[in-house]
Amino acid sequence: MTNDLLLLIFNADFLFSLIRITAPILFAALGAVIAEKAGVVNIGLEGIMMISALFGVMFAYWTQLWWVGVLGALVVGVLLALMIGFFAFELKTNIILAGIAVNMLGAGGTIFLLSMLTGMKGNTGALVTRELLIPTINIPLIKSIPVLGQVLSGHAVLTYLAFLFVWLMWVLLYKTPLGLNIRAVGENPDAATSIGVSVQKIQYIAIALSGAMAGLGGAFMSMYYSQGWNSGMVAGRGFIALAATAMGRGEPVGTMLSSLLFGLAQALRTKVSGIQGVSSYLVSVIPYLVTIIGLVAYAISIKNKLKKRSPASKGA
């Protein structure tokens, strides 16, 4: 019986959807990673995703080209992030408040904007035709491998991009001069200043990249995942991403793993709620339960790490 249940859940279809569900969380989480490394808290990821998701659809519709939509979403994401940066660095607003403002803009402003641009209410319904969705790719050789092919092939371009960005982010942070500067600024801004590295410039770059990631996440949501924009679409993914980053200790690979965990929780919920006789209330608890378990595991691992590291070495 349990065996059957497991089989029902963990099949190729399920793993495929796990990857698909994880992708948008991963985009936003990578956005959080780069910001955090530079010592910037970008809490506005959720709002950026909402707004750029809408613009993605709109740009695609106006030009009738899906990739212009994706690019448009990315640019809007960057602009919004730069706006948060401008408020925080230039006007010295609290960066958390600036982020919250963008989130509120994302929740309310988008509906208003949509109705202004198209007269539609709450979703973009008919605007999105099949051709305007982000295309999927079948990977030649892998496609024909049983199971593996079903899991890995046939995803949207952006899904592959999300996972590619994990690696790129790591390279950026650990192998390039910009990454060196970003880490220095995040860890000891005074040290950076003292040798003439402009903290503000680096933080602008980092938050812009963070916005770009969230923008792509937004495009993924409206132009593939939900096949059109609607007001409840992002559903907290921007916040889940922050949690995933914390759990992944702000490192690209760790963050990918924790994003997969959150993705797993969501995929399970979707799957299990389809099974007859399972209480839907119980099922909706799964993602939160996984979050708590994850955070506990995280706390324990941190504690062990602290124990191993002698505090003696922390001296200035």
Partner: protein, 520 residues
């Protein structure tokens, strides 16, 4: 001719910080090419501020700067660097998780294929400069893991690699041992011979006399004049600085030790690099006496202090204060035993830098009844307590609300000392208590420590300043290679030379002689 030789001229510099503190008032300051120029003055006199202005970290409210005869506006460290000015700050400006080489090339990292950091090249640059300027470092070590002496060198190299011809060193010796200091002096003199100009800020008169050519004295934001070092006496310098004569000799009556407050037995600790830092360390501190620990830094003193305050856990051994074991105890419980600590590393363990002076001084005692009224704080009591401490310990600040990080280095140390000494400890562990503190305040703190012990507290004093341990302690142990190698019951007859032999491991006493420090 004289004009040509002046690499830096600062004329009529004034600086008023946004919070209204006038840190510099109409200061004139000049540097001759190839000289070592000292700046002396009490804590908060405005030395660091003046140099931060020269390095572009702060903008003067008024005044003019000329570099090599040309009027310049130094609006950022970048500009200063391009003018050939480099600065080593009072508190290290390094990124702990990066390696030494990465810290050195930060902001100018060499690349390969135009995109990636060429780490090998970075190491080469670091090594090349290290050899050229004779500053020994380990380019691949992470900065968290290296000793302070090496951090200092990394800072100097950071400036030199960027082409600095004028080097500003803000209290470079405050964190160094005698050995490291003399090494640094050799390096500075060789730099001077190569044509570098050096600004040297220090509170230590002997060092100033030893190494500098000229000196500028500052008091209360003003310059008290420039002097040829050779033609001014130590007494005169301190009179100009403080405005009165300073007696650095500690006057103390004979200790009358009573029962044991701190009992340390057979402590052992091997660090991450498998180096035995503590090897069967046993001693006791009794009420009413000051026990000093002398030794070259890095011989286990730091680890020992960490074990006493549970900042680290020993591999074996016991620590008892007033009969209660301290190992593994949370710090608030340790404090409840009447133990207090002036840590060596004030920025990490001593203060919360973005909190106010008031918040910092009550941070160990806000739970006390007198500071609370029901569920709320009794703010009046708290204000009173902090005001009193600010006055008593002569903390130079605009108000008790001032952020600690806005204080001058010496005044930050005073905040720590004020909190730890005023908590009426039965055992005070004082690790470098007068580091970075001017002569006037040093005198005051030393007297406070003596008074504390004469009123019946036990004091464990660790200091890299040999004069300080000898003068202040009643009895003394010497650490070498993680072991106690000597115990002197009485410090009256001790001299630097005998001490030096024990500190360098040339001599050690027998086990029986050393065991006397357990008083059993």
């Amino acid at each position: 001719m004289e004009q040509e030789n002046l690499v830096v001229q600062m004329k009529g510099i004034s600086k008023v910080y946004p919070n209204g503190i006038a840190a510099n008032r109409d200061v004139n300051f000049t540097l001759r090419r190839g000289e070592i120029h000292a700046i002396m003055g009490e804590n908060g006199a405005g030395k660091s501020t003046l140099m931060k202005i020269l390095f572009g970290l702060e903008q003067p409210t008024s005044g003019e700067i000329l570099v090599n005869g040309e009027p310049v506006v130094i609006n950022s460290p970048n500009k200063a660097i391009s003018l050939g000015i480099g600065m080593v700050h009072q508190h290290f400006m390094l990124v702990p998780s990066l390696t030494v080489a990465e810290n050195i090339v930060l902001g100018m990292a060499p690349t390969k294929s135009r995109v990636f950091v060429d780490y090998k090249k970075a190491v080469e640059i670091a090594e090349e400069n290290a050899t050229r300027f004779n500053l020994r470092i380990d380019p691949n070590a992470k900065v968290v893991d290296i000793p302070v002496g090496m951090k200092q060198k990394v800072e100097i190299l950071k400036a030199l690699v960027r082409g600095a011809k004028i080097l500003i060193l803000d209290e470079p010796t405050a964190v160094l041992t005698t050995q490291e200091t003399s090494e640094l002096f050799k390096e500075l003199i060789s730099l001077k011979e190569q044509g570098f100009t050096i600004v040297f800020i220090s509170h230590k008169l002997k060092e100033i006399k030893q190494i500098t050519d000229r000196l500028t004295i500052m008091r209360n934001g003003k310059s008290m004049g420039v002097y040829e070092t050779a033609s001014i006496s130590e007494e005169e310098i301190s009179r100009l600085m403080v405005g009165r004569d300073v007696v650095l000799e500690v006057i103390k009556d004979k200790a009358q030790p009573s029962e044991t407050v701190l009992k340390v037995r057979d402590l052992e600790y091997t660090d991450r690099w498998n180096k035995k830092m503590l090897d069967k360390v046993s001693f006791s501190v009794r009420k009413g006496e000051i026990l000093g620990i002398a030794g070259v830094e890095g011989n286990g003193q730091r680890e020992l202090v960490e074990m006493l305050f549970n900042l680290n856990v020993p591999d074996a051994g016991t620590v008892y204060a007033n009969g209660k074991s301290l190992i593994g105890m949370p710090q608030n419980i340790i404090r409840d035993q009447g133990v207090s600590l002036v840590p060596e590393d004030r920025m990490t363990y001593g203060i919360a830098d973005i909190a106010s002076i008031e918040e910092n001084v009550i941070s160990d005692r806000f739970g006390e009844k007198r500071f609370n009224r029901g569920p709320l704080f009794n703010m009046r009591e708290i204000h009173q307590e902090s005001e009193t401490l600010i006055v008593d310990y002569r903390i130079l600040a605009k108000s008790r609300k001032q952020q600690v990080k806005m204080l001058s280095g010496g005044n930050i140390q005073k905040v720590v000392v004020a909190r730890e000494l005023s908590s009426q400890p039965t055992l005070l562990i004082a690790d470098q208590p007068t580091r970075g503190i001017d002569v006037g305040a040093t005198e005051f703190i030393r007297n406070q420590i003596v008074e504390l012990s004469r009123n019946g507290s036990g004091v464990l004093l660790v200091s890299a300043d040999l004069n300080e341990v000898i003068e202040l302690s009643d009895s003394l142990i010497v650490m070498y290679g993680g072991k106690i190698v000597a115990y002197f019951e009485d410090t009256d007859q001790l001299d630097d030379i005998t001490m030096g032999e024990y500190m360098l491991g040339l001599k050690h006493q027998t086990e029986e002689e050393i065991a006397k420090v357990c008083y059993e």
